[in-house]
């Protein structure tokens, strides 16, 4: 058990030391990274070069079936009796051609590709009182991106089609038999089973995740906002303007606000992760202590907050904490306070309130996880520690905590990045409020980057800035992941666990 070995060697300071060594390794790491990147580029160009050379030699050495396949995809496969593959290649090419050169130019790939550089030039105009819509920048960008995806897919498939020809030719030359369509179909259930299994998920992710993300990255470089709203208005490329507006420090820009929101996002993620982690572990230890009865009942009570949909529980709790809500009313009735506590109106109070309520949501998860892990700690470890005369706290510090930290390292990382994007808690509790004159762009003191992004999208239809924020969230998450990957060994190697 590798993790146990690690744990025996490790000390609580391991993490700190890891952090230190990360920074000392950083320059070297960056140099290595750059070298790797350069190497990557070299091998990329080499790869392209090799492919080109191979294309030429295949054409030169190939028979007429192979050569014709350069023009008509799948022809070689057809001609050699592999009609299943041939049909797929041919169908793909046909669909591509129809899409690119459709007779109704308005719907063809070429049309959108041609307009991509300007995102449309024809303005909407009026004929009498009737509105004639001009170019729709949104759909030009969307279908433009789709067309590029399609072209790349075609180039790849075309290349595969030629490679197939080459392989088939060689196989035949050496007196082997080619796979029949039935063989191909059978292989989908066996040696190529992964293709069968991944086909649908890959299609779904490509269309509904990759394409949209690509699109939104491009939107960050346009002026797509409330005043450039298709179909009535056009939008177009503006380069890095939006990044400037969000990050620059002058008064017309959002630089100050962005830093403020980013800082709170990180503070929030830190507390939401680690406070819940330790308190959850603590509760788990209490429940699991020998001699405590009704263990199942305590657990069940706690997991209620997981089961009940958050839009019910959090919305209700948010109202409970209002200035005239139940909590304040009762506190005043009992004479504990004379004035309502400013749970949602004071920025600092609001932040603390959110972190505290989030404990209510978060402890149960950690309690369940910690329970599971605590059970796996070998009992003889405690036994021998006890013989050495260790007290409860020492055992916790020397055994429980390091073990927990080690096995849940990856979880802490995903939980931290998850909390950076923890939309629900903020949105349902405070909606990002309170606002302040010191903050621009509609951001409030409890807004995370993700809720700010949401406000920009939904309230202001300011898609360009929302896209920039989205990209920056990605950058933040990626940086954190990189740092931690370099710090915690247990995150790195998935095969270790098998």
């Amino acid at each position: 058990m590798t993790d146990l070995d690690y744990f025996k060697l490790s000390k609580p300071q391991k993490m700190l030391r890891g952090l230190g060594s990360f920074f000392t390794r950083l320059p070297k790491g960056i140099a290595n990274g750059l070298k790797k990147m350069a190497g990557g580029f070299v091998s990329l160009f080499k790869g392209i070069g090799n492919n080109l050379v191979d294309l030429v030699t295949t054409f030169r050495d190939g028979d007429w079936k192979t050569r014709l396949s350069y023009l008509i995809m799948g022809f070689g496969s057809f001609a050699r009796g592999q009609w299943g593959r041939g049909l797929l290649f041919f169908l793909f090419q046909t669909v591509f051609n129809v899409y690119m050169f459709m007779p109704n130019a308005e719907f063809s790939g070429c049309y959108y590709l041609g307009k991509l550089s300007t995102l449309g030039t024809i303005e909407t105009y009026k004929e009498g009182r009737k509105t004639i819509y001009g170019d729709n920048s949104f759909f030009i960008l969307l279908y433009g991106v789709l067309t590029i995806f399609f072209i790349l897919a075609l180039i790849y498939t075309w290349r595969v089609n030629i490679k197939q020809n080459k392989i088939s030719e060689e196989l035949l030359k050496n007196g082997h038999k080619l796979k029949t369509t039935k063989d191909d179909l059978d292989s989908l259930r066996d040696s190529q089973f992964h293709k069968t299994m991944l086909a649908l998920p890959t299609l779904g992710v490509t269309i509904f995740t990759i394409l949209p993300i690509f699109f939104m990255i491009l939107v960050a470089f346009t002026n797509f906002d409330a005043t450039h709203q298709p179909p009535g208005k056009l939008f177009t490329w503006v380069g890095w303007d939006n990044f400037n507006q969000l990050l620059a420090m002058d008064s017309a820009s959002y630089g100050d606000t962005f830093r403020h929101v980013l800082l709170w996002t990180l503070i929030w993620a830190f507390f939401a992760t680690f406070l819940n982690y330790f308190l959850g572990m603590f509760v788990a230890i209490m429940i699991n202590k020998k001699g405590i009865k009704l263990k199942k009942m305590w657990r069940t009570i706690l997991v209620m907050t997981i089961a009940i949909p958050q839009f019910v529980s959090l919305l209700y709790v948010s109202k409970m904490f209002a200035a005239d809500g139940l909590i304040n009313t009762f506190f005043m009735k009992w004479g504990w306070i004379t004035e309502p506590l400013p749970f949602w109106t004071d920025p600092v109070w609001a932040r603390i309130t959110i972190i505290v309520i989030n404990i209510w949501i978060g402890i149960p998860y950690l309690m369940l996880i910690a329970t599971g892990i605590l059970m796996n700690i070998p009992a003889d470890l405690y036994e021998s520690a006890r013989i050495d005369g260790a007290n409860a706290f020492q055992m916790y510090r020397k055994i429980t905590l390091p073990y927990m930290l080690f096995v849940t390292g990856p979880y802490l990382l995903t939980s931290f990045t998850g909390n950076i994007n923890n939309f629900n808690v903020i949105f349902l509790l405070s909606g990002g409020k309170p606002l302040s004159l010191d903050l621009a762009g509609g951001a409030g003191h409890t807004d995370l980057l993700i809720t700010w992004l949401y406000k920009m999208t939904v309230n202001d239809t300011n898609y360009k800035l929302a896209a920039v924020i989205g990209i920056l969230v990605f950058v933040v998450t990626a940086v954190i992941n990189l740092i931690v990957y370099n710090m915690i060994p247990s995150v790195k190697n998935e095969e270790d666990f098998q």
């Binding site: 992964h194 657990r299 019910v312 209700y316 892990i373 989205g470 990605f474």
Partner: protein, 315 residues
């Protein structure tokens, strides 16, 4: 979890065993026992307090839902117990012609049922493939999913909306539209069930392969029967998620009231000014949503625990 005998009780307090070994005198032992009892009492007190804090909001919610909007008030009030208990709100939700609650409820059930089947299929396909099969591009796929996962979800809301609209799946088509969106990218959430598949010994597949089974047969006949816990976990998660989605559901269904899900329908009652005095109805609706989900969750809690624990450990 299911088998209580397996639980090694984690004992952070030095117990008698240690005392015996160090040969403590009997009076010391007695004081140790007293110490032990004091600690247990403290823990019980703490657990009772925690339970009160955890349950109070839900109990309050239930109280409010029984306040009559006819004789008292449907708005928020500053007292807890209804002056007169009544089922007004529930009756209104379920029978009033101007209430769309049942419609929203059935929309959500439809979405949840479809998601639990289709999403499970997607997740299991991906996780099984990435866990058990070795092929070119496997690492690449995992890295791409990792990178994609770092983009915030709501970034692409506007474009997903328009993709759905091009397919005619917004407003009146919101229910199938939402199912499509939830299911399409669900394969990316493969981590936890991959972690589960990783723990099934490879020798099982190998011996079956030697007997001539195809990979598809191995998946169907060998792995799936063993995967019951993770299947139930995935189904449970897929079933529960649509109940809470307000943001995207409201974006897709806007304007078309009969096609809302419960979250969208109830959310507007306490956040849009047009609905004065709907607060108790919100509470009643919340109770009607929460009760079945909670019961289902508690019934399948065991599988949930296995899932999250495994997921946390495997990453």
């Amino acid at each position: 979890m299911s088998d209580k005998n397996k639980i090694p009780e984690v004992d952070i307090v030095v117990d008698e065993a240690a005392g015996v070994i160090r040969e403590v005198k009997p009076e010391n032992l007695r004081s140790k026992k007293g110490h032990e009892r004091r600690i247990n009492t403290t823990i019980y007190v703490a657990l009772i307090l925690i339970s009160i804090v955890w349950l109070a909001p839900f109990v309050f919610l239930v109280f409010q839902s029984f306040r009559s909007y006819l004789t008292e008030s449907g708005a928020m009030v500053n007292y807890l117990l209804p002056k007169q208990w009544s089922l007004d709100n529930y009756v209104w939700l379920l029978t009033d012609p101007s209430s769309d609650f049942l419609r929203w409820y059935s929309n959500t059930i439809i979405i949840a049922l479809f998601c639990s089947v289709l999403q499970t299929f997607m997740v299991l396909s991906v996780s099984y493939t990435l866990s058990r099969l070795r092929f070119k591009g496997r690492k690449l796929i995992m890295n791409v999913v990792l990178v994609l996962g770092m983009f915030p979800g709501f970034l692409t809301m506007i474009i997903l909306y328009f993709l759905l609209r091009q397919l005619g799946l917004t407003q009146t088509g919101a229910v199938p539209g939402l199912i499509l969106i939830y299911v399409a990218s669900s394969g990316m959430g493969y981590y936890i069930s991959k972690g589960f598949f990783d723990t099934i010994p490879k020798s099982l597949d190998e011996s079956a392969r030697i007997d001539g089974a195809t990979r598809a047969q191995v998946f169907r006949m060998i792995i799936m029967p063993l995967a019951k816990p993770i299947v139930i976990y995935t189904v449970l998660m897929a079933f529960m998620a649509p109940w809470g989605d307000y943001v995207f559901a409201s974006y897709v269904a806007f304007g078309s009231k009969p096609n809302y899900n419960v979250a969208v329908g109830l959310y507007q009652w306490i956040n849009v000014n047009d609905y004065q005095g709907y607060f108790t109805r919100f509470c009643a609706g919340g109770v009607l949503v929460a009760v079945p989900i909670t019961l289902l969750f508690l019934a399948l809690q065991k599988y949930y625990v296995e899932g999250v624990t495994g997921g946390a450990v495997k990453g």
